[in-house]
Symmetry: C2
Subunit: 261 residues, 2 copies
C-alpha cells in the first residue's frame, strides 16, 4: 500500500468511512440533553408521549457519564434495577454459561433498550459492555412502572417494546436452528443495515462496532468461519469489507441468499 492511499483500501477502492456521518456525530455525548430535545425521541420511549408526558419521563431518566470502551453497564447476576437506552455508541450483551462458554446474546445501537431480561427474576441474565465510547440513559424500572401506571401511552409502548424483543428473539431462534453460516451472516448484515437506517445513518455503508469474535459468538460460528464468509461474500461482489468497514453492494442478492432453499 503506497503512502498516497494509506487510509483507503487499495483492493476495494473504498473511501474511508470517516468522511461520512457516524454514530458519534449523530449523537454527541451530551449529558445535558433532555428527552424532548434528544434526536432519538422518535425511536425511544417518548415516541408515544405528548409534551407533558415526555417531561414526566424526563424526570426519572438518569443520564450517567459516558461509558468507555470495555466498561460494563452491569454484570450477569447483578440485582436488576434499571433498563437502559443507548443514546450514542453501541453495547453488547453476553452470557457466560456454566461450562465457561461465552456467547454474545445481542448488540444494541442508539435508541435500543437494554436489560429487559432482568425484569422477571430481578437479576440480570446477561453482562453488558460498551463496544466503544457510549452514552446511555438509565431508567430505574420501579419508577418506569409507576409512571406507566399513570400514562397509558407509556404502558402501551413498553408492552410493545417488550413484545418486539420477544418477536426478534424468536427470529434469531429460527436463524440459528437452520441457516448456513453465509445465510446467518447475510441476515446479520441486513439487520444492521435496517437499524442504521432507522437512526439516519447509511444503510449500505457502516462501521461494525464489534470484532469478528463477537459476531461469531452471536451467530454461533467461529472467527475463522466469519472471516471466510466475509471473504466469500466479498468475492461474490455482494459486500465490500475493509476491516471493520462494511459496504453492502447488492442488498437484493443478500436477501436472496437468506431465502435460498
Amino acid at each position: 500500500m503506497s503512502s498516497a492511499d494509506i487510509t483507503s483500501n487499495s483492493q476495494t477502492g473504498m473511501i474511508p468511512l470517516q468522511a461520512t456521518a457516524t454514530n458519534r456525530e449523530l449523537c454527541p455525548h451530551n449529558a445535558k440533553i433532555s428527552c424532548a430535545s434528544c434526536r432519538l425521541n422518535k425511536l425511544c420511549l417518548p415516541i408515544a408521549l405528548d409534551n407533558s408526558e415526555i417531561h414526566q419521563l424526563d424526570n426519572i431518566v438518569k443520564r450517567n457519564r459516558p461509558y468507555k470502551k470495555g466498561d460494563h453497564l452491569y454484570r450477569q447476576d447483578d440485582a436488576f434495577e434499571s433498563v437502559y437506552v443507548v443514546r450514542s455508541g453501541s453495547i453488547k450483551s453476553y452470557i457466560l454459561s456454566d461450562s465457561g462458554k461465552r456467547r454474545v446474546t445481542g448488540f444494541f445501537l442508539p435508541g435500543e433498550i437494554i436489560g429487559m431480561d432482568g425484569i422477571a427474576s430481578k437479576i440480570y441474565a446477561n453482562s453488558t459492555m460498551a463496544l466503544e465510547h457510549s452514552s446511555i440513559c438509565e431508567i430505574p424500572f420501579t419508577q418506569l412502572e409507576r409512571l406507566s401506571q399513570q400514562l397509558p401511552n407509556l404502558q402501551h409502548h413498553f408492552f410493545a417494546i417488550m413484545g418486539n424483543e420477544i418477536a426478534k428473539d424468536q427470529k434469531i431462534h429460527t436463524l440459528l436452528s437452520s441457516y448456513t453460516a453465509e445465510q446467518r451472516t447475510a441476515s446479520f448484515l441486513l439487520g444492521l443495515s435496517t437499524r442504521y437506517g432507522r437512526i439516519s445513518l447509511s444503510p449500505t455503508r457502516f462501521l461494525l462496532p464489534m470484532i469478528r469474535i463477537d459476531i461469531g459468538e452471536y451467530l454461533g460460528l467461529t472467527v475463522e468461519t466469519m472471516s471466510r464468509v466475509f471473504t466469500a461474500l466479498q468475492r461474490k461482489g455482494l459486500i465490500a469489507v475493509n476491516n471493520r468497514e462494511i459496504e453492502l453492494l447488492d442488498i437484493e442478492a443478500l436477501r436472496g441468499i437468506i431465502a435460498a432453499s
Copy 2:
C-alpha cells in the same frame, strides 16, 4: 412382545404412564371454571392479584370450547387480538420462513402464555397448533391493557411474564449457538421436567406431547439425530424412552452433560 405385557416396554420394564397422574386429569376441559377456582391460579395471571382483582380479570377472560389435536389457535400473519393461556393440553408454535422451512419456536404447557410475539407488530409472527385435545383461555389484549392500567399488580406481573419470555429466549439462543445435539436434548428434557413439576406432575416421568420431528425443529436437529440421541441417552442409563414416554433416570448426569466443556 408377549400379549401379557402388551402395554409395557419389555426392554425397559417401564410401567405405562396411563397409571399415573396426567395432564388431562389435572385440568379437566371444563369451560365453566373461573380464574378464582382454576387449579392454575398460582401460576397464571391471578398469582399477583387479590380476590376482587381476580374477579375483574375473570370478566375479560374468554373460555372458548376446547381445541382438538391439530387445531390452530391462530396463524402466522393473522391480526393480533389476544394472548392465550393453556389451561390443559399442550400447544406448539412454529414459523414458516420465506424459504419454506418450518421451525418450531416453542411448546406451551398448562399455565403458560401464548401470543406475546404479536404485541408489537399487531400481527402474529407464529402459527400455534394444539398438540392434543386442549383447553385454552383467551384474553383480549386491549382489555388486558386497560385492566393493567387499573391494577398495578397486574401490570407488574405482566411485565414480569414478558421479561421471563425474553430471558428464556436468550437461553435458547445460547443453547442453539454452541451446544451439541446431546446437550440440547438433555437441556430440553430437564426444561420439560421443571415445567411438569411446576404443574404438580411428575418431573421424572412424563409423556412427550410432541413428535420427534417437532423436537428436532425446535432444537435445530433432524429427526434421525433426535432418535439417535434418545437411544444414546437410554444406553447410558440416563433416561428410559418408550415411544412418547420418557423417564429421567439420572437428573444429575443430565445436568452434567450440559455443563460439559
